[in-house]
Amino acid sequence: MTAADGLLTVSDVRHAYDGRPVLQGVDLTLNPGEIYALLGANGAGKTTLIRTLCGRLKPDAGTVRLNGQDPARVPSARAVLGLVPQEIALYPHLTVSENLATFASLAQVPRAAVAEAVQRAMSLTRILDRAHVPVRHLSGGYQRRTNIAAAIVHQPRLLILDEPTVGVDIDARAALDSVIRGLRDLGVAILMTTHDLDQAGGLADRVGFLQSGRMVLEGAPATLLASAFGERMELVVQLSEAPNPEAAERLGQEGLAPVEQRADLWARLDSDGYESAGLLHTRLQAIGLRPREIRVRAPSLHHLFSQVTDGTVAG
């Protein structure tokens, strides 16, 4: 492995199931101390890519190097990897510490070092106070943190998180984000898949949009947003009721398009932001529409994601 190589390097990886291409030349590099959010709609190829990174799937073409070695051919290469599945992948009748000790042993942590490894993992994920509670009695947030603790108990250098915040409330998500940042600060490389674009935008150093097996867009969130939208802001109009076909046509003429498949919510990108909002309000009233609210907001990864899935943005 050269200094230029990342901890994880994926080069032109291709794979097909029964002749149907799922990965079509994916490149990806991940460095220590970096959080990378892999985004994409269902069926984009995220799960296949993760299986490839874990060495569970040998790609039809291309290379995967984990710490300089092929994880599918060299099992020991996977020692640097920790996987946090989307499900709570723990033994429910066992306590937190018993679970972590089990996964430490199964990850080949020497017996004498297991207790210390368990303490460290609980400390990093801030679950020490639940050490002796059976997992099935934990709240959703604590279960998620224990799920992460079980993946870092053998001190991996690369942590893969598959939808780490599914089904957790806002407080629990904030706690999870804090844990993930803490691990990043310790030099752990983190690759996460998520449908939570707000979390990805707030947490990731880089994001990658996977669509139909291709990495169509990749980079730092701020850079990508600036590149896609420039100085433009988004005007979001909420109507008091769904417009009739004639009014909808007039809205379209104003450059507005329905948002999130809601008939009462329309939006457009605009360079003049707040100034345009006032003018737009006047024009909508003139054509007999009564906007309940017009908001001005900075474009987010949601907009970028929509443009990627619409095909407006191409890599």
Binding site: C54, L57, S76, H93, S105, P134, H154
Partner: protein, 402 residues
Amino acid sequence: MIRLQMTLAMIKVMALELWRDRAALVMTFLLPPLVFLIFSSVFAGATGEDIQPKLGVADLAGNEVSGRVMGGLLASAEIRAERVTPASVEAVRAGVKSGRFDAGLVIRSDPAGAGRPFLIIADPGRAVAAPLAQARVQQVLARVAPDAALQRSVRDLAPALGDLTPAQSQRLDATAAALRDRPPSGLDAGLFEREDLKDARKGGAVIAYYAGGVMILFALFSAMQGALGLMDERRSGVADRLLAGVAGMGPVVDGKFAFLVGQALVQAVAIFATAQLVYSVPVVQHLGLWLPTTLAAAVCSAGLALGLVSVCRTREQAQMLSTFVILVLAAIGGSMVPRFLMPAWLQTVGWFTPHAWVIDAYQGILWRDAGLSQVYRAWGVLFAIGGAGLVLAQTLARRSRQ
């Protein structure tokens, strides 16, 4: 060494999961001896001589001999006879029909007289009760009214021999009186002589049979439940987590196998300890052969369960397959009904189940004092099944990385 540590970690997981699931704990260790006690209680008394059918009796003859027969039946320990009132055929029929009696007996006329003095009323649903009741009545008749039997025999012979002379009639009456006063010690009329096997232990064969039958039934049942954990690990993502690691699922399968073998051994101890304590089955006296037989049965059940569960894709599939396999193998293999009651072809098919081998080995050791030469084949079959199941489970666990 590290592989052993991983296997031990998995054994600990399974032990803790079982220990903290009280319902599973009861199912695993309390239910087997309980079911064994129930089966052995039922079938130990079902070998023929110990069955005491409930008999409703009506005496329509009302003479001295029928009174003796009625008294004999009521006093008999071999049958639970009850006088039916009012004494009528209809009342006896009604008693049998309602299930109050297993069979009915009507003494229609003088038992020493001509014709057929006894009417047995049977329910086809309990057909076995009628011949049993008839045999008991014959026993009682021979005991309390042997003179009547003699007089009936002479009357039957009269057409062939001609009328008796006064002297012959006198000697017949005297013999009948002597029989009445001092009935013969044998219970039957002297047509049969019986020889029991020397040193045979009464009832022990069935107990040993069912100890083995219940042991393999529950060992396989519990092993299937434990092996279903593989499905839970797939569903919960634990398998994904482990497959992303260095060791994969191999140590998990090893750990489960070792735990399930240990679990079956503990179950066997519970069942056979009950057999020894309650029925004096000589388990400790045959420990040398009992132990390897038990180990072979435990290995067989653990390997078979893991192999079967491994070929399933979902927990639902595995649950259905395990229920199907447990019930069918137990039924064919003799865990539910003694194999000697089965038709010959089914007994032959039974040898394709581990149950038949386990039962045969245990019965051989504990009942027939069989030696190594008579059980080694069973051990071979059981270890082979268990080994094949384990290899299959390990192979599929390796493939599950894909």
